[in-house]
Structures are given as C-alpha cells and as structure tokens.
Symmetry: C2
C-alpha cells in the first residue's frame, strides 16, 4: 500500500560532537519518505524554495518517492540550524530557524493523493493537519500524526481537534506529559487514547519508544550505537519505518504494531549514524533485516513456559 506524507523539506546546518554539516538535506517529510520508501511507495507533499537543488529531487526519486506534490515557491527553502550537546547527544539548541517558503505552506492535495490509503501528517500546524485529512476523498486505512511542543503550547485546541480524527499519534515523552497534563507516562498515554487515537507512540530518544494501545503496552528499545553522528531526523525516520511497515504488511493488529515499532527503531538508528540522510540513502534489505535481528537479540529472553516456575527459595512458594 502507498503512503502519503505531508510535512517539511528543509536544509539543516548542524553541529554535533562528531562534526558539522552545512545546508544538509533535512525536514520531516524527507526523513520519513526515505525511511518509509524501503517498505512502501511514498508520495510527498511539501514546499521548497528556488534554492532547492535538483540533485535532492533526484535523490528522493531514486527511492521511488513521488515528488509531484513537492511545490516550488519563490523564495528560499525552510532552513534550520542547531547544535547538539557534547554531554547529552539528545539535548539540542536551536541557533536559527528560517521558515521562508514554509511559513505560507498550505498543502493542496492532487487527485492522486486524495485516495492514498496511509497518511502521515508530519509536524506542521494542527489546523493544516486537519485540513489535509479533510481533503482526502476517502478516509485512509490509517492516519498518523506527529506534533511538537510549539503547537501543544500555542495551538492546543486545534491540536486536540486534529488528534480526534487520527489513528496514531507520535509524541516525545515531554510532549505527551505536557499535552495530557499527566506526569506519569502511562497516565499520559491513556489520557491521549481517551481523546480518540487508538495508538499512542511515546518517543524517548536513546531510550526507545513505548507504544500504547487499548490492551497493549510495548517497549521497543533504541539500538545501542557505538557512535551517534547526528540525531536530526531520528523521530521522522522512526515514523517512516513504522508507518512504512504497517502499509506494507497491512497488519494493523497488536502484532503488526509491535513489529512496526522495531522497524521504526531500526530506521531511526540508521538515520543517526550519519549526517543528513546519508546512511538512510544506501541501505540494503539485508542491512535492515540484520538490524531487525539485532534488535531481536537485544530484547529477547526465555519467557516462562506455561507450566514453569521460577526457582524460589525453599519455603517461599509454600509459606505464602
């Protein structure tokens, strides 16, 4: 099944403990598209400026990403610049944000895009997220939404409305707490589920994700890497692997969501191994399967058999 993503395509200038990179291809829709492209045909809706390089269009197209929805406006592309901390690779400081053509982004879907069965609303203004969903000719099989603190703080009402119509919500743990006004993460996720979405994915950076559904909580770890080169795009690459797998397998059961989280974790771990989309670009199916198996080895243990007991101290089992 094919996936439609609406979000940002940008140029990022980042400084991390591993080095610096100027004007690197970035943006939520970019990372999502390339990560998801291994599993599903992805159509991208975004806006770039006159400065956007043809080679980056060709890069997306080399992953069979449909770029017919990549609007080119007069002006410059969205540009972000930030520094990651040496002590804590998850801590970043934004140095500069230039929205440029993204400031007036008002996605208008083509006829082909309105019937896509999987939809990912990347982190954009929640009113636009609702508007995109309303443009769909038929309700997709699955609609997922990502957001950020800026909208939670400034557009809570619009975000709440958008949330009510989607199936899957991605938030990081701070966002989930802030949005639900619950300190406890389980309580936060349950609160968000009570608003409508059947699945809440709480992202915890290097600590992995928790996936909450009605009768399920699943913890997927992040893959421990020897070196994180650039965390930019990890969350969107996670979402790309997650939604891409669901679209490819069409397994929307708990089983499917568990595997989707592991594949999301795999794709997120590749994304941070290099600057920009460098590592994501040239992956092979074999590399992705190998990381899936490595995540299996990381988490699996011998469960208790149905008739098995733990080795209790003498007296414990009988005394209580």
């Amino acid at each position: 099944m094919s996936v439609l993503v609406v979000g940002s395509v940008a140029y990022d200038t980042v400084k991390t403990p591993a080095g610096t990179r100027d004007d690197a291809l970035g943006g939520s829709a970019t990372f999502f598209s390339i990560a998801g492209s291994y599993f599903a045909s992805v159509s991208l809706v975004a806006v770039v400026g006159e400065d956007f390089l043809d080679e980056h269009v060709r890069l997306l197209e080399s992953h069979s990403v449909d770029t017919s929805g990549l609007e080119r406006s007069s002006g410059r592309s969205f540009r972000w610049s930030g520094v990651y901390s040496t002590e804590d690779i998850n801590a970043r400081e934004t140095l500069d944000t230039q929205l440029n053509v993204f400031a007036d982004f008002s996605p208008s879907l083509g006829a082909d895009h309105r019937t896509k069965p999987y939809l990912f609303l990347a982190n954009i203004e929640p009113g636009l997220q609702s508007n995109v969903l309303e443009q769909m000719a038929t309700r997709p099989e699955l609609v997922a939404l990502d957001t950020m603190n800026f909208w939670i703080d400034g557009s809570r009402e619009a975000l709440t409305k958008a949330l009510q119509s989607v199936d899957v919500v991605f938030m990081d743990e701070g966002e989930a707490r802030s949005f639900s006004r619950e300190v406890n993460l389980t309580a936060a996720a349950r609160n968000i589920i009570s608003m409508g979405p059947k699945t809440v994915v709480v992202k915890r950076g290097e600590h992995g994700v928790l996936v909450f559904r009605k009768d399920m909580v699943f913890a997927a770890p992040a893959f421990p890497l020897d070196q994180v080169v650039d965390p930019t795009g990890a969350g969107d690459s996670f979402a790309g692997g997650f939604i891409g797998y669901l679209a490819a397998s069409r397994d929307l059961t708990d089983r499917g969501f568990r595997r989707a989280a592991i594949l999301g974790s795999a794709m997120g771990s590749f994304a941070v191994e290099s600057f920009s989309t460098d590592r994501l670009n040239g992956l092979t199916p074999n590399e992705i399967e190998k990381r899936f198996r490595a995540l299996t080895a990381l988490t699996q243990f011998d469960p208790l058999a149905a008739d098995e007991s733990l080795p209790w101290r003498d007296g414990v089992a009988t005394s209580v």
Copy 2:
C-alpha cells in the same frame, strides 16, 4: 545458593508526589535482602544504632534473612532524608545525610559468611568493598558491586582496584559515563568491561537497564506503572532480584543474565509501588511470576523466521 550482602541498613525520611514517610526502613542491604529473599537465602552484613527497632530485625528474619551479621553499635542508625520532584520522579534532592554509626562501618565477616558462594557489595566505600572480598575464604562463584558518583569522584583509584576483582558492576548511566569518561553508553560499558568485570549493568531508572557482556547487549525495560509512589530502593531491589535469580538458577550464561535482568526489573517495579519495603514485604510467587509475564508481553514481538523476509516495496529487494 545463598547470597551475602554487605551494605547499609537505614532509616529514610522521604517526600514524593504521592506523600511523605518519616523514618521508614531503608538502606541498600535492606532492599537487596528482601527482594533477593524470594529466590535465595540472604545473609546481611551491616551496622545499625541503638535506635534500630526490633520489629525491623523481625521483618528481615520473616524473609529468612540471616541477621547474624547485623552489628548494633552505640549511637544512631544511618539516616537519610530527601525529596523527589513532582515533574520528574527520577530527580531527587538530598535534604540531609546523617551517617551516624555507618561512618565507622568496618565489616568483619563471620566464619559462616566467608564461604558464601554469591556476594553483593552494595554501595559502600570501595576500599571496604575490596576488604570484604579479601576476607572471603574462597572466591565466590559470583561477586557483584554497586557504587555511586561520590566514590567515582573521590575514590577513583580504590574503586578501579575493587572493580578489577568483581564479576558484575552496577552503575547508573551517569556514573558509567563519569567513571569511564565516555559519553556514549556502549563505549562506557566496553571501557568498564576492559577493566575486568565480565558484566556491566547500566541502570537507567524509568528507562530500564542495559546489560553488557562480552558478546551480548540486553535491554530490559522498566515496567510502566500507573503510579510511582517512592523510587527509593529501586536500584537495590533490582540488584536483589538480579543476583537472587542468578544464585537460585546458577545459570551464569547469557540466558541467565537476560532473565536475571527481567526479574531485577520486576522486583524494582514492586519496590517503587509503595514507601519503604512495604510492597516488597508481602509478595507472593504468583505476583512475581505475573509481573515476569507482563514484562514478557511488554517486550516480545514476532522475530523474523530464518527464511522470512520483511515486506519490501517492489523493486527494493532487487534493485540493491
């Protein structure tokens, strides 16, 4: 197999978002002993003051903990007081530390204790940890050590020496980074393993633990709870379940260490459900097995079968 623990027995006054408790039974050896007692016979070596209540000796003995090594000195017991943050339950501020009789703690093992096959050196001065190990008549099957930033900053040399003689090291992630001087957690653990210990357990609070061994990394999640009442003792209860299981199963393979981490996580999750050892005290084997199974459900997913492929987008598998 039986386990010897050398550490602190204390009275804690804590304030958490769930309430306050004055002069509650605490201390590393206390939490470790009670958590471990479900799996193994535990002997405790510690010191308390004249204020230590008989009912707390009886509580330990109700778990078959051998208290013959619980020395009673003139003076008051170790007392600690702290406040946990409302925003972040893992952040705590120490209000007061009164070492009292613990300041002169110099453990002297009885003949019975010197032959114990499993030894847990809880967080005490590293020179004392080495001294305890030297007192053992025979090298135990397994020696584990816990420590804290205070010793890493102030007694690095003594701690390094102690580490070289043990099998398992417990540190939280900040301690592992600070001790190894490596920001990356994998690099930090590999650095510590290169000093001697075959197993490094990196504790990450509500994010679970990572267990590093020569050819293994295992991620055990924390059990997501609806409410954390009091985090005090979580790490020592984790260690009690972990070492207790290893002593009971005598499975010192990767398989055993994986299960040990899950049982540690189970016992840690019980510890934080109430103040002091309240929840740990009255557990049943059934409750512990139920949590082990819940941790199984939290982490398990369908691995890829040997001959199974992921569902790739058409063209991906053949184009690369």
